[in-house]
């Protein structure tokens, strides 16, 4: 009997091992923690999506699909959502997943100590109905709630409590900072922060594994040239990102391919809407012309986005007309056209606003946050000069940049926004709503843009259950923002990954790298 079992086990082990492969990849940022609730940042959440799972997850096309919940439906007239949990799911350590873990993960992720607690601002309570049913109550009807929790990952209550990690601890760290125990398709078998992280398949995963990875290793490589060399020499199978200037060279190299796509991040120009005076340039101290919508419109008409995309982004990026890219839910297709590039019209608008000779002001720009950010700003300086706007460029590292913006030290600035919920409501809440600390609104609306109609529509968008009505309101807001040129959306940032030719994978617009979609052809 024992031999028979042994033979069966051997057979089981051999079947997938026939084409099992090792896979290694490199990125610029090491996920700073393995705790899915401690930090709300894309490198952490993207990485942990391979290890932990939520009730729902996003598919290859970003659509929400069942994960640890098999189905869900609204309760009553929008009092909340009921989730039916998947049965027979086990964590990496073998313990069972059930409703208690969901309740525990809610308490853990919505605690003061958790960075992701803002996801649960609309939630009034979470109740276990039975072992495999959970009710999540919301204080107002919330149509996009399932969308907003795709990155809320489930942790085993027993494991967390036994290891003293019942709450996340970002400042001092705890057991969950270095160790992980999720339900996802991969488990972490070695973790050396900043050096390497090793993953192996979770044999007890509930889903059907379509990958053929036996062992995967992630190495952070900060220097882009080193990463490109590592890919070319075959030491790593995939790098993210490829520096745009190296993409063409990689494409022509044998054995290597470049995978391009567009990210969820829209790059835009922002203005000081509230500032009384200009702060930089020769006209510092004079009244702030950017309070006038015509001046902002002139900027929109002066910046030649197609030229920027051609020259600086080498054709990798797409132009943007709104605060969200077309891949996001709630994007308004009827407003997809950017303003016409027209320097003469821009000059006419400036003259009409009382600045026939233009003026001088300060443009703030990060130099290590977005792809080629400083080059883009330099190009815009010369484009603006053609209509008489003399922009003084102040480029700085991102850790100096945000404090300057928070202190209102700018006349115009560059900003990128990637909506965490992949929905058009997100940038309205953060960038267009009148800043209000108590209601957690407009927290990135540095310039203080304010429009009563937008503020009135936002709560209705948030609670509208009818998709068509909701879209009409989103269209209206997008229209207002375009008419008033609250921001000048420029382009959607490109995604450029480098991959060995024998690897097939899926690139998702949120720049998450999903290991279970990778197959390595060893032949």
């Amino acid at each position: 009997m024992k031999t028979l079992l042994g033979a069966a086990a051997l057979l089981l082990a051999l079947t997938p091992a026939a084409r099992a492969a090792e896979f290694s990849w490199a990125g610029t940022t090491d996920p700073q923690t393995m705790d899915p609730h401690a930090v709300n940042s894309a490198p952490v959440l993207g990485f942990l999506n391979n290890v932990y799972e939520g009730l729902v997850r996003r598919g290859r096309d970003m659509a929400i699909e069942p994960a640890l919940a098999t189905s869900w439906e609204p309760i009553g007239a929008g009092e909340g959502w009921r989730f039916h949990l998947r049965r027979g799911v086990t964590f990496h350590d073998g313990s069972e997943f059930d409703a208690d873990d969901v309740v525990f993960s809610y308490r853990r992720a919505s605690d003061e100590a958790a960075d992701v607690r803002s996801w649960f601002a609309p939630v009034s309570g979470v109740a276990k109905v039975d072992d495999f049913t959970v009710d999540i109550m919301t204080s107002a009807p919330n149509p996009i709630f399932p969308d907003s929790i795709a990155n809320w990952m489930m942790m085993d209550s027993g494991w967390a409590e036994a290891n003293g990690a019942s709450l996340p601890d970002k400042e001092n760290g705890n057991f969950a900072t270095l160790n992980a125990n999720g339900t996802g398709p991969f488990r972490i078998t070695a973790r050396e922060p900043g050096l390497r992280t090793e993953l192996r398949p979770h044999r007890g995963w509930w889903g059907v594994a379509r990958h053929n990875i036996d062992r995967a290793e992630f190495t952070p490589i900060q220097n882009p040239a080193t990463a490109v060399a590592a890919l070319l020499s075959g030491e790593v199978d995939m790098i993210n990102p490829v520096p745009i200037q190296d993409a063409a060279r990689l494409e022509s190299a044998p054995g290597v391919e470049v995978v391009r796509g567009i990210e969820a991040r829209v790059i835009m120009l922002g203005f000081g809407h509230e500032a009384d005076t200009l702060k930089y340039g020769a006209d510092a101290g004079r009244p702030n012309p950017f309070r006038d919508a015509r001046v902002r419109m002139a900027v929109a008409k002066a910046v030649n986005v197609p030229a920027i995309l051609r020259q600086i982004m080498r054709g990798s990026a797409e132009p943007a007309s709104q605060l969200v890219s077309p891949a996001m839910r709630g994007h308004s297709p009827s407003l997809a056209a950017r303003p016409q590039i027209d320097p003469d019209a821009a000059k006419a608008l400036l003259a009409e606003a009382g600045y026939p000779d233009g003026f001088s002001f300060g443009l703030m720009c990060p130099n290590n946050r977005y792809l080629n950010d400083e080059s883009v700003c330099q190009a815009m300086v010369s484009m603006l000069a053609r209509v008489g706007l003399e922009a003084r460029l102040h480029a700085m590292p991102v850790s100096n940049y945000w404090p300057e913006l928070r202190a209102d030290n700018y006349d115009m600035y560059l900003l990128g926004w990637s909506p965490g919920t992949f929905d058009a409501e997100h940038p309205i809440r953060f960038l267009a709503a009148t800043p209000n600390s108590e209601k957690r609104l407009g927290s990135w609306n540095f310039g203080g843009y304010s429009n009563a109609r937008v503020d009135a529509l936002l709560p209705r968008i948030q609670s509208e259950l009818d998709d068509n009505v909701r879209q009409a309101m989103l269209d209206e807001v997008a229209g207002i923002l375009i008419d008033e040129t609250a921001y000048v959306p420029l382009y959607v940032q490109p995604l450029v990954w480098g991959v060995r030719s024998n690897v097939s994978l899926t690139q998702r617009p949120d720049n998450f790298f999903i290991l279970r979609w990778v197959t390595v052809d060893e032949g």
Binding site: E171, T226, A229, A230, S233, G234, V398
Partner: protein, 327 residues
């Protein structure tokens, strides 16, 4: 003697304190760690709260004082980025840097002396001139460029050596070593060349000029007149006398090899303290930056102190000035 040592030690401590003060006054220009620590959905209240928790609102002398009092108790703080004790992180990363520095220092010393002697003896020879010309490259090309060139030649084109990382390491207690595996040894080659090339050239040129100087001395002529063989003249008599300044310089250079490993480590993704420091700057991880800068300055000050004391021990004239010789 004792008074001299005490005075030099006191000066060293003062230098350390000033370095720390300068470092802490610079940190606020590096930026603000808050935005890296909080996600997109932070509010102004979150920012205020975290600033207060981390003590970032305190004036920098207060922050410095807190760092010093904690450091005196052996507590270097908690990394903002990793949420782990800084001392633990540095102890984890130090072996990588020290092994790299040792290998490249040793390489620079051996090859530097050998080539220096060779170019001095054959100073009009074609090969010696070629070496001297090529050595200009070592001095004039920036480290990162040499590193990238080596990577493209030996990793990408030839595929002989790894382009990044340390290979497999073996843990011996708290120390991780790359000396015991073939991939670890292979991984050491390119970074050590990159890091040691400048020192190699420096030592080579120093040995050469010292050697040329010594070979003109009378005792060398006498040695030749006695009919000693070339090898004995060059290596027993000439080389020995060139080594005193060479050892001094090499000792001082060891400090800079460790400190300037930053660039090499970045190019090769070498997981040492230099790379840690670069990452800390990007993230504005103040505890890590502070600890690294203080450790490096302790090292430099320590090496200088030892060198000064050695001079004192070796050179009787220094003692004569102090009047000790009267005894």
């Amino acid at each position: 003697m004792l008074a001299y040592i005490i005075r030099r030690a006191a000066q060293s401590v003062l230098v350390l304190l000033v370095v720390g003060l300068v470092a802490f006054s610079m940190f606020r220009f590096v930026g603000d760690p808050i935005d890296n620590m909080l996600g997109q959905e932070r509010t102004d209240a979150d920012i205020e709260q975290l600033r207060a928790t981390l003590g970032l609102d305190d004036p920098f002398p207060v922050q410095y004082w807190n760092f010093l009092t904690d450091a005196a108790r052996g507590d270097l703080g908690i990394s903002f980025r990793q949420g782990r004790p800084v001392a633990e992180i540095i102890a984890e990363r130090a072996p990588a840097t020290l092994e790299l520095a040792a290998v490249s220092g040793l390489m620079a010393l051996l090859f530097g002396i050998a080539l220096g002697v060779f170019t001095a003896i054959r100073r009009d020879g074609f090969v010696a001139n070629a070496i001297m010309t090529v050595s200009l490259v070592g001095v004039s090309l920036p480290t990162f460029l040499i590193g990238i060139l080596l990577i493209y030649l030996f990793s990408v084109t030839l595929g002989w050596l790894p382009s990044f990382g340390r290979g497999e390491v073996v843990r011996l207690g708290g120390w991780s070593t790359g000396f015991l595996t073939s991939s670890g040894l292979k991984a050491l080659i390119l970074p050590s060349i990159t890091l040691g090339l400048y020192q190699l050239t420096l030592i080579m040129r120093l040995v050469r000029s010292e050697m040329l100087e010594v070979l003109r001395q009378d005792y060398i002529r006498f040695a030749r007149a006695r009919g000693l063989r070339d090898r004995a003249v060059y290596f027993r008599h000439a080389l020995k006398n060139t080594l005193v300044p060479v050892i001094t310089i090499a000792g001082l250079q060891l400090g800079s090899i460790i400190a300037f490993a930053i660039i090499t480590e970045t190019v090769f993704q070498w997981p040492g303290v230099g790379l840690l420091f670069i990452n800390a700057i990007q993230f504005v991880d103040i505890p890590v930056m502070a600890a690294y800068l203080m450790l490096i300055s302790v090292m430099f000050v320590g090496i200088n102190l030892v060198v000064d004391l050695l001079y004192f021990a070796i050179d009787p004239r220094l003692r004569a000035d102090r009047g000790d010789i009267r005894r």
